[in-house]
Every structure is written in C-alpha cells, then in structure tokens.
C-alpha cells in the first residue's frame, strides 16, 4: 500500500514584516545593509550609531540586535566593554581629556577644571543644554605633547587653560 505523503504543513506567521520604522531603526537597517549582518559587522554598526547619535540608546541597541539576530543583552555586553561606545546619553560634543601619566604630569587637572568652570559642568557629566560632555580618557597616544584632549575626533595637543578656553569657545559657536 502506498504511503500517503506528508500532510499539509503550514507555519503561521502572525507578525509579518514591520511596515513602520523609526528613524533609528531605519538608520540601523541602512548600516546593516552596508556592513552586513554577520557578527563581525557588529562593531562597525555600533560605531556608526555612536558617530551619528553620540551614544547607544536602548532603542538603537534593540534595533541592532534585531538586525543582526543577536540578543539585546549580547549587544549591550559587547558595547559596554568599549569606552567609546557609550550606553548613556552624551552631548553633541564629547570632550575627552587624557588622564594618563604624562598628561597628568603636564597638568590635565587644570585643563579639566578650566572646562568645568567654562561649561559649568562636572567631570563625567553632560551640560544641561546637551551640547557638551566632559570625560577623561586613558592614554590618547600624544604623551610627548601633553596635556591633550579629544573633542569628538579632533585632537588638541599641548593645551593650556587659555588655549582650552578658546577651543571650547569655538565649539560653543559651532554648536548652537
């Protein structure tokens, strides 16, 4: 007797593709389209989000997890390992003053207190208008020209309190 072949097998798709995407979701999708959806695309995508948004919001990490088929915890765990992949909100401009040995020796503390006074923010925090975050960083690789600071990707070497005030003033003008 011939066997009846397989019965009708059907999978129900209750939740088909999303038709509405938020701005961040759209952005993340574009990055994934560009960099790919394998695990080794994760860092470039996270970096792109931080470049654009200054930090990884919950929404962004959920979107990345969704695109790369990773767990959100995994995305968060990976991101939080890296100092430059902030998972807390940051200002439009991120100031990172090098705090390691030679920059310490050459007066990074003065630079920090200058910026604190100028922007009225404490080290580690973000100005209330969201324009600046003031952070310290480990060795930035300019030990012969300390003290140094990074503002976003721009490096400023052999800074003095006076020079710092000027640099920050420029950014204040640029970022309304």
């Amino acid at each position: 007797m011939p066997t009846k072949v397989l019965i009708y097998i059907k999978v129900h798709i209750i939740n088909p593709t999303k038709n509405f995407m938020t701005r961040i979701e759209q952005f993340v999708k574009e990055q994934a389209d560009y960099y790919g959806r394998r695990r080794n695309s994760l860092m470039p995508i996270l970096q792109a989000v931080v470049q654009s948004e200054r930090y990884l919001s919950e929404e962004a990490m959920v979107a990345v997890a969704e695109e790369l088929d990773l767990s959100t915890a995994d995305v968060f765990g990976t991101a939080s390992f890296y100092t430059f992949l902030d998972t807390v909100p940051r200002g439009k401009n991120i100031i990172k003053v090098c705090k390691t040995i030679t920059c310490h020796m050459k007066g990074k503390d003065e630079i920090i207190s200058t910026i604190e006074d100028q922007l009225k923010i404490k080290l580690g925090s973000t100005s209330s208008d969201g324009r600046f975050s003031l952070l310290q960083a480990n060795c930035l690789g300019w030990c012969h020209k300390g003290p140094v600071m990074l503002v976003n990707d721009e490096i400023y070497t052999e800074i003095t309190p006076e020079k710092t005030v000027e640099v920050i003033r420029d950014y204040l003008k640029k970022t309304k």
């Binding site: 019965i7 097998i9 999978v11 129900h12 959100t72 915890a73 995994d74 765990g77 998972t87």
Partner: protein, 596 residues
C-alpha cells in the same frame, strides 16, 4: 581511527592520553583532583577563574589546567608551592569581592567557593574588601530566579549556559575591568528581560549569586494553618532526584519515601502531577488529531507542526523569540496547571472543600513553574490555581527542616482521585517522554492496537541526542480515523533551548516535515530541570532518566488512556476531550513578548 597518544607526566606519574585532552582531564585520569570554578563539563571552556593553574616544567607561566591541551613530554605539577600560592591568592582575591555572608546564604554548604576556601583554609582575608554596599541589592523581580551580584565571582558559567545551552542570552558580561559584571540588557530586572526562568544558570552558578526564589516558609505557614486544606502535587522528575538531597545515587527511585515525607510534613493530601500528565496526553492527543483532521479532511490550514506546551521555560522562550509560531503551540496547559485548575474545582467539589480555603503546592524540578503559576491566565478555577511552587531542592530543605529522616521512611502511596498515574505519565520527566506517552495513546486510539514497539518502549525518542525524530505509520485504522489510513506521522523531539532554537528556525523555513514536536527547555528534559539537586552533569541526568524508565516499566498501567482516575474524570466531570470544561480549565493561550 584512534587518536594520537600524548605522553606526559603529572606529579611525576607517567600517563599517555589522547591528543586534545586537557591537563585537567589527564590529571583526573590519574585521580588527581585539580580544583575548578569557572569550568563546567556542560559548557565550553573559559579558563578565566585561574584556580586550576598548574606548574609546567620549563614554563614561566602557570597554565590553566582546564584550558590547556596536553603536549608531548609535558611535566606538570598540580600542587607545587608556586601553584599553592597562586591558587590561594585567587581564592583570597575572589573572597575579597565576595559577600561572604555564608551562614545566611541559601547556598551554604553547597557553594563551590565556600568549599574551596574551606579546603585552602584561607583564614583571615589579608586583602581589602572591595564589596560596595550598593552591590548588595538583590534582584527579586522574577518569581523564579533571584540575582545577587555581591556573591558573583564573574566566572561566567551562567552567561555561557544561557548562551550555549539555552540560546536565550538573557545574561551577558557587561563593562570591563573593575566594573565588569554579569548583567541583563541595560541591567534591567530579570523579570523584564528575555529570561525564560529555566534556571539552568542556577544549576551552574558555583555560589549563591543566582538562586531560585524560595517559598518554603510560606508553604510551612500554609501547612500549619488549620483553616487551610493544603494539597501537594509532585512532578514526575522529582521522584528520581530528591534522593540526591539525602546522599542517595542520582536516579534512585524514592517515590514512596517522598510521599511519606510529604505526609509527615503535614500536607493534607499528597497527589501526583503524573495524573495530570496522563490527562495532558488525552487532551493534547485529541488536539493533534483534530488539527490533522482539519488539514486532511476539512481542507483547512491549522498550525502544524503542533508543539508541546508542558515546559514553561520553552513557552516563554517561544513567546519572546518566536511569537510568529505561537499558534503551533498546543493550547494545553502544563500538567502542573491542569492539576491546579482541577484541584480547586473537580477535586474541591468532591472533597467538599471550599476552594477559597485550599492551597495547592507543587513540587517541581523546575524554576520556570514558579513563573507559570503566577501567570494571570492561570486562574481557571476562579482562584490562583497553583499557590506555591517549590523546587526539588526546596523540598529537600523542607524535609530536613521538618527533621524527617528521609532514608529511613517506609514507602507510602499517593492519595486518590488526582493521585493515580500510569507509566506514561511518569516518563513525562524525560526528553522524549511526552512524545512516547502520546504515541502509546494515539496509536491505540487510532488503530485499536498497542503501539508496535517491544514492551511499549519507543526507543527512537529516548536518549540525550539534541534532536531526535521518529515516524510511525498508521495501518488498518479504526473506521472513525479513516482519514489517517496509511499516513506516516512524523515527530521530532528536542531538549535544551539552543537545540529548540535550531529546530524552530527550520520550522519557520517550513522544512522539518514534522507533524508533532516535543520540546523541553532543559537538557535531558525535566530531570535536568533548573530546580533539581546539585550538581548537574550529563552522567547524573542519564541516571535520573533511567530511573524514570525503570519506574515506568514497574507500573501495571503504562498508557495514559488507561488511567482509571482520568477515565472517571471524563465520565463525571469533563465529559469529553477538548470539551467545554476542558477548554475553560485545561487550555490556555499565549502572548507575544518583547525580545529584550
């Protein structure tokens, strides 16, 4: 082909082992025990706690025995002065950031760090305490699992378990350096993330950092409250594991002693989840048949393959990660919840008890059952169907606290009405057990004959393989099942959520060919549940599984539909499978949950 042999010396004893063996394994072969913390046989090697470091002649560094493969001519010392100093340092360092509140800790006596510091007699900790008050905040958000970072030694066993064995990835390692810790997504409470409550992390946590939420005191309070009628149900897998709490070999069948102990603790009635396991087979079996009928006869498109729904860890996994497949889940409640719903309706009525005065307690091998009992939809009786869920480990604790000498107890039997079971209900605790029970019944319903396997043992669905499959062809069926004549029913079985994920991805692609899939969240099924005695290894799980199969073979009734109490239940109360009352009490629905 045999592997290359590698010759080495461990503590001056020569040994030849297979290439690729680790120093740790080679030392074990020589009966040298090297202490470990981050190592666990079930999961991949991490090599990060460094407590297993050994001295290798000619090497400046101390390699980690768990992570280093043997090499030709290696000379290893497992307890040299260098090793002892390093090991002691590692233990002392771990203690310096550990909330060593051992006497009050639920893991007191079972903690691997405690055992090690005891062995090494670390004495007064020479190092400065790094423990901060803010780290002592315990996450009690989940009804199943509590997470206490102050007791965490960052061995990452839980993270590896959650990722590798369960593919859930609710836990991760977050931050680095002095801030490194085990965290959920954005450090959200455990109850707000993708955690399935399976408790496998608990089974592998060496300390008291991840533990089950315990309800022992509440249960004692209920038992000693004269106004309450307290009934207890015991899951299949508990009877081959509770003995381990009292020094017995894993897999020792102690059903009778367990019943006796529960009665001595003071439960008013001692009943059996095996009963509702049998009932599940009837309901789920008819559900499958009705889906098949809809497809073959009515030309409809029911969700197939149908998937079992006994394992609440699996259910929550599906709700989070495969919401598009929720219709494929059987709508049957798990045996625990079927029991609860019946206890406060059918049983209460017959026992002349007011369900409001009833307390239903479950003894489960499972931590996810604690969550399940708290689901808002689990109130089919009009009350919370199951009031408290205790793990096998918690039952061990109760028995000890009640001062009962477990091993000397005489066997006793379950009380009636919801206490009778068949061998089919018993094997529910093993991976493949639900499927085997279902096939025993379905085949007989359809053909009127016993399932064509020697001694009713459907071997292809048994064992610890990740995904098992079997096919059974219906021939000479009874007239009412004509549409199944010649049909080959294909079934799949998987256990451990990582395996389940692989299978679900295939199901989504639509190319498994299965009609019915059994899934259990834990490795080996419920016998490897997150609430079972510690430690857990593959060997232990195998022994427990054999225990359940033995129990099955010793039973007179071995097919769910032969359970007289189930028959009585249908006759006098439910009237028919998938009927109106079944729908109200025994079936449920599922929700789509967020993936975070």
């Amino acid at each position: 082909m045999s592997k290359f042999q590698v010759n080495l010396k461990i503590n001056n004893l020569a040994i030849a082992v297979d290439e690729g063996t680790t120093i740790l394994e080679a030392a074990r072969q020589l009966n040298f025990n090297i202490p470990t913390l981050c190592h666990h046989d079930d999961i991949c090697v991490a090599g990060n706690c460094r407590v297993c470091v050994v001295e290798q002649k000619g090497s400046r560094l101390l390699p980690a025995a768990c992570a280093t493969p043997v090499g030709e001519g290696m000379e290893i010392l497992t307890n040299s002065m260098k090793v002892r100093q390093a090991r002691k340092h590692v233990v002392e360092l771990l203690l310096s950031e550990h909330n060593a509140d051992c006497t009050r800790c639920i893991k007191n006596g079972e903690c691997e760090l405690q055992k090690m510091s005891n062995e090494y007699r670390t004495g007064n900790n020479q190092f400065i305490s790094l423990l901060k008050e803010k780290d002592k905040v315990i996450d009690f958000s989940s009804p199943s699992i509590s997470k206490d970072d102050s007791k965490c030694i960052r061995c990452q066993r839980c993270v590896r378990t959650c990722a590798e064995m369960q593919a859930v990835n609710a836990l991760t390692v977050a931050y680095k350096g002095n801030n490194m810790r085990i965290s959920t997504f954005l450090n959200k409470p455990m109850n707000d993330v993708v955690c399935t409550n399976c408790g496998q992390c608990i089974n592998r946590c060496p300390t008291g950092s991840l533990t089950e939420r315990t309800y022992v005191d509440q249960v004692f309070e209920a038992v000693y409250d004269p106004t309450k009628f307290v009934v207890v149900q015991t899951a299949p897998a508990t009877r081959v594991a509770i003995g381990e709490e009292f020094g017995l070999e894993p897999g020792t069948r102690v059903t009778g002693k367990m019943v006796a102990a529960l009665r001595r603790i003071g439960f008013d009635k001692v009943l059996d989840t095996d009963f509702s396991a049998d009932l599940t087979i009837i309901e789920e079996g008819y559900e499958l048949l009705s889906r098949l009928k809809a497809a073959l006869v009515d030309g409809k498109a029911p969700a197939l393959p149908m998937m079992t729904s006994c394992s609440p860890g699996w259910i929550k996994f599906q709700e989070h990660l495969y919401p598009e497949l929720l219709e494929n889940l059987s709508s049957c409640k798990s045996p625990q919840q079927m029991f609860g719903a019946l206890a406060k309706t059918y049983y209460a009525e017959r026992m002349n008890k007011n369900p409001a005065d009833m307390i239903v307690v479950s003894i489960m091998p499972c931590t996810a059952k604690k969550f399940e009992a708290n689901r808002p939809e689990m109130r089919g009786s009009g009350y919370k169907d199951v009031d408290f869920v205790l793990t096998t480990r918690e039952l061990g604790m109760m028995i000890r606290q009640a001062g009962i000498d477990f091993n000397k107890l005489e066997n006793e039997s379950y009380d009636g009405m919801l206490g009778e079971s068949t061998g089919a209900g018993v094997i529910f605790g093993n991976t493949g057990g639900v499927m085997e029970a279902a096939l025993r019944t379905a085949y007989e319903i359809i053909t009127g004959r016993e399932v064509p396997f020697s001694n009713l043992s459907i071997k292809p669905v048994r064992g610890m393989e990740g995904v098992k499959e079997a096919a059974i062809r219906f021939k000479d069926v009874l007239p009412e099942w004509n549409f199944l004549e010649g049909v080959e029913l294909k079934v799949g079985i998987t256990h451990g959520l990582a395996n389940a994920k692989l299978l679900m991805d295939k199901v989504k692609e639509g190319n498994t060919g299965f009609h019915f899939i059994e899934i259990m969240a834990c490795p080996g099924g419920c016998i490897g549940g997150g609430g079972q005695p510690l430690p857990t290894t593959l060997a232990i799980r195998k022994k427990r599984a054999s225990g359940l199969y033995e129990e099955d073979e010793k039973m007179i009734l071995r097919k769910s539909h032969e359970n007289p109490e189930v028959k009585e239940l249908y006759q006098s109360f439910l009237h028919q499978p998938l009927g109106h009352r079944s729908h109200d009490l025994l079936h449920t629905h599922y929700y789509s949950r967020k993936k975070i």
